[in-house]
């Protein structure tokens, strides 16, 4: 077995036990990138020299006994997380040359923990999309079938982990952007509770929904990474000041008596038979481990998708207004005056999907329409949250599919935005509710494409969610992609 195939916690332990060096782990990952990146195209920026230098420095630290908790583990960051002096493009022409003057809090925390940054990975432009096809730079492929999409928006993060091009990665999740690609690429992805991981330095899409989380090879890796990035950050007012447990230690695998709710709305029209069957098989596995599941209903969840598109687009229209060609990033070459500078820069710098969301959001916030759209959507949000609160009075976790189908073909849905938006149907309500949810592979369809299952938990109860996933994971036989 090659080093690059190992999980992040195995790498961490082997480095700690001095069985391998960080440099070896880094070299192996870089070699893998060289070998498969032509096919997968998950990276926007590979930091080959920098990563090796960093690994050597960490090896020196380890020798002198001053190593962080994840010392020497190589990883990749989604290209919307600020890295000081390193390109952070959001996969947009608008930021093709943008090097932030500061590190995101997650970047800072992972560097402090001793990880090695291999590079920045591809995404849908400004995280808007479900297939990573809206990236200005490249189309990332699904490692299980390179004619299929990896999902999105954190498609690069999911693909690089699934293809063993990084031991773990971070993604961001606004409506399913970690979980849906995790599902399509057969890896583990978690969106923590809104407020548990700092958003400082995450280039915002929709501030009230965005949350950073890990994409990993297994549940243990996921817990291990979450341990490092979760926690209050004084630089983010929406990050919550509560002490989180040691998530890795919470993985006992004991789910006896765990009460699982299975909302029937997630198994209706549009959900493929393969997916539904695999999720139910997984539920039976969990039952065999001692959990009990019950069909139940989340009646208002069907309004989550429209509410999500209103709120996220409204916030995006404001968050993306700063990309105006004045201070940094792309600026149109020809313009007549100030207004024209804005118009030309934004017309040329943004792709079609981003422009569509900015227009929807601007409209929803306009005077005369605000009440009918934005305000209404916020009211729906409150009702959906109440729906969840009520459900969690009875159940410890809720289990649903992660994506209505397995990976779809590249170009299959690009001409029909509504079809594309439906790809998030299983994941958006979790962001609307601000809840933690994990996606892990629970099977494969007839053509060998991974099927994901989603476990949703109570606010700040990541430990229960992770442990349920850990117990289920033990019952699943995983298949690596054949690249």
């Amino acid at each position: 077995m090659d080093i690059y195939q190992l999980t992040a916690h195995e790498i961490r332990d082997m480095i700690k036990e001095k069985k391998i060096s960080s440099k070896e782990a880094t070299q192996s990952a870089l070699a893998r990138i060289h070998a498969v990146e032509d096919k997968v195209e998950s990276y926007v920026t590979v930091l080959e020299e920098e990563a090796l230098a960093q690994a050597e420095a960490i090896d020196a630290n380890i020798a002198s006994g001053e190593a962080g908790a994840l010392a020497g583990v190589p990883m990749a960051l989604k290209d919307n997380m600020c890295t000081k002096g390193i390109l952070t493009t959001c996969s947009s022409k608008m930021l093709y040359n943008f090097k932030p003057p500061y590190n995101a809090t997650v970047t800072e925390k992972l560097l402090e923990a001793g990880t090695v940054l291999l590079g920045k990975v591809n995404m849908d432009e400004f995280a808007m999309g479900s297939s990573t096809e809206t990236s200005h730079f490249k189309k990332t492929k699904n490692p299980y079938d390179i004619t299929k999409v990896p999902g999105g928006s954190s498609g690069g993060s999911a693909a690089c982990v699934a293809a063993d091009e990084a031991y773990f990665s971070l993604g961001s999740d606004t409506g399913g952007s970690i979980r849906q690609p995790a599902s399509l690429c057969g890896c583990v992805g978690m969106k923590p509770t809104y407020g548990s991981v700092s958003r400082y330095g995450l280039i915002a899409f929709a501030s009230s929904l965005d949350q950073i989380g890990p994409l990993a090879k297994d549940v243990t890796d996921c817990a291990m990474v979450l341990n490092q990035i979760a926690g209050h950050d004084p630089k983010d007012s929406t990050s919550v000041n509560i002490q989180h447990p040691d998530f890795e230690k919470a993985l006992t695998g004991d789910i006896k008596g765990l009460k699982i709710g299975v909302p029937k709305e997630y198994f209706g029209a549009g959900i493929s038979g393969d997916v539904s069957a695999a999720v139910h098989a997984a539920l039976d596995n969990m039952k065999a481990e001692g959990a009990q599941y019950t069909d139940m209903s989340l009646p208002l969840n069907e309004y989550a998708l429209p509410a999500y598109y209103m709120i996220s687009s409204a916030e995006a229209s404001s968050n993306l207004a700063r990309f105006d060609g004045v201070k940094y990033g792309f600026r149109a070459e020809k313009f007549d005056d100030l207004i024209d500078l804005y118009c030309q820069t934004r017309s040329e710098g943004f792709g079609a999907e981003v422009k569509r969301r900015i227009m929807i959001g601007t409209y929803a916030l306009s005077s005369g329409y605000y009440d009918a759209y934005y305000k209404k959507a916020q009211q729906v949000r409150t009702m959906i949250m109440n729906d969840f609160t009520k459900a969690f009075e009875t159940y410890d976790v809720l289990v649903t599919p992660a994506s209505p189908t397995t990976a779809f073909g590249i170009g299959e849905k690009t001409s029909d935005p509504l079809q594309m938006y439906m790809a998030d149907i299983c994941t958006v309500s979790v962001n609307i509710g601000g809840l933690p949810a994990i996606v892990i592979p629970c099977g494969y369809d007839a053509s060998g494409l991974p099927i994901g299952i989603q476990i949703i938990g109570k606010p700040f109860d990541e430990a229960t969610v992770l442990n349920a996933a850990f117990a289920l994971e033990k019952t699943i036989t995983k298949v690596k992609p054949n690249l």
Binding site: D324, L365, S366
Partner: protein, 477 residues
């Protein structure tokens, strides 16, 4: 036709907090362009605001000092618009839940008390500044001012003349200064205002169509802009025209306002709740803590000056309209000077010099003790009033102990009766006609003779002694 003017004002005051509203940058005026900012206040992608609690403290303080109700559950909102001095392309402000609401300020218009309603006070961040280059036809942005905390104080349309508006502005300024909410430095733009003005025929209940005036950078400019605008609107109505609701830009150099945008072009700011910030929850305890820190306000201080020091109402008003001035007054009185002469010097010569030099009361270079000493020198007869004016000039030029200055400038008064008598006798000998006039009852003659003695003494002889000796001599003559 006779019209009544209706004015409402929106005053922006820079808060005197140590740091900016959403980041740790120092809140200081000036500095080389773009040296007083960080990724947060320049709106770099990914950065987030964190509200400086002191900003809320200061705004609540302003609210309490203007009799407002403090909002228990407030929030902040984004005001979206594009401009190169606004790096996020939105300003974080407050829309429908301002921190303070429904207050009032009492003003004194020719001895009559008027209560001016305060609709709301909200917190917001300042934008940067564009500098237009004269040579290359380029504009450059200085983001130092980005994130400087502001409060916007919106009045009800309760003001009825530019003069009332001026008094309201002065009163508000002194309240902000007293509470140390703002340092109110007009030159540095720490107090700015927008004017809303309409007119209506006297007796009509309904308001006329209002115009808003922007770019009013001083109180003086505000009064001029209001006078111009009420005249402009009256001329339109007199000619049977209709006042258009619009925003106008005041040009203080030319003394005219020009249309900026009409009601139809009014910008849609697409306000919505700022998702990067949490609600501002203000407890009763918090409000009470702040209430305790509110010092004696100008109205109370004015009353104290009238009652304790028997100063005229007008003097007390002028002194207390600037906290720095009133503090200086109190300190000089504490040093033993009599209130009335201190007040006279402050309101007279000192204010005039400050005006000429475009300084504010806080800029007085000498100490209250030095002023008290100077007044003592006058009372002891060491210097004359006119010599004191020279001492004062010297104190402004190079602050020093007045006694030393008197000596240095040779201004000590001659009070030696023998020496003065010699001069008196000399003058009398040369002016027999004046002696005759005096005897004939022409009092003016005495004045002339005093003047002559003064002239010979180069202004140093003690006028009281001259008077006494002259009278004695004339009576004997």
């Amino acid at each position: 036709m006779k019209y009544e003017t209706v004015i409402g004002l929106e005053v922006h005051a820079e808060l005197a907090t140590k740091t900016k509203i959403f980041c740790g940058c120092k809140n200081e005026f000036g500095g080389e362009p773009n040296t007083r900012c960080c990724p947060v206040c320049t709106g770099m992608p990914g950065t987030l605001p964190v509200l400086n609690k002191a900003v809320v403290d200061y705004a609540i303080k302003a609210g309490l000092a203007t009799n407002c109700t403090i909002t228990k559950y407030g929030k902040q909102d984004r005001k979206n618009y594009f401009y190169p001095d606004l790096p996020k392309a939105y300003q974080i402000s407050q829309f429908d839940l301002p921190l303070c609401q429904n207050g009032y300020v009492e003003i004194d218009v020719n001895g009559e008390k008027r209560r001016i309603g305060i609709t709301r006070i909200h917190i917001e961040e300042d934008a940067g500044k564009l500098i237009h280059d004269d040579y290359g036809n380029e504009s450059m942005a200085d983001y130092n001012r980005c994130g400087v905390p502001l409060i916007e104080i919106v009045s009800e349309p309760d003001l009825r003349s530019p003069e009332e508006a001026r008094i309201y502005l002065e009163t508000l300024k002194s309240i902000l200064e007293y509470t140390e909410v703002s340092d109110c430095k007009m030159q540095e733009g720490s107090l700015r205002c927008d004017v809303n003005l309409s007119i209506r025929p006297v007796g009509q209940e309904e308001f006329g169509t209002r115009c808003e005036m922007k770019n009013v950078n001083s109180f003086r400019a505000a009064v001029r802009a209001m006078e111009y605008e009420q005249k402009r609107q009256a001329e339109i109505l007199d000619e049977g025209g209709v006042v258009e609701q619009e925003t106008r830009r005041w040009d203080d150099v030319r003394g005219v306002s020009t249309p900026m945008r009409s009601k139809e072009d009014a910008q849609d700011y697409r306000y919505f709740p700022e998702p990067d910030l949490v609600p501002i929850v203000v407890s009763d305890e918090w409000v009470e803590e702040i209430r305790k820190t509110i010092p004696e306000l100008p109205e109370e201080r004015k009353a104290r000056y009238v009652n304790e020091y028997s100063l005229p109402e007008y003097d007390a008003f002028i002194l207390t309209s600037s906290k720095k001035m009133a503090d200086f007054f109190d300190a000089a009185v504490k040093e033993g000077a009599k209130p009335k002469p201190v007040s006279n010097w402050l309101m007279g010569d000192i204010s005039k010099i400050l005006n000429d030099k475009e300084l504010e009361p806080g800029d007085i270079p000498f100490t209250p003790a030095q002023l008290a000493k100077m007044i003592a020198l006058i009372e002891k007869g060491t210097i004359s009033n006119s010599a004191a004016k020279k001492v004062l000039d010297a104190m402004f030029a190079q602050p020093d102990d007045p006694e030393k200055l008197v000596e240095k400038l040779g201004l000590a008064q001659v009070s030696d009766e023998g020496a003065i008598l010699e001069m008196v006798n000399g003058v009398l000998a040369q002016n027999p006609q004046s002696i005759a006039d005096y005897k004939a009852g022409k009092d003016k003659a005495l004045g002339f003779l005093v003047g002559q003695v003064m002239r010979i003494s180069k202004g140093k002889a003690n006028p009281q002694i001259i008077n006494k000796l002259l009278k004695d001599a004339l009576d004997k003559a």
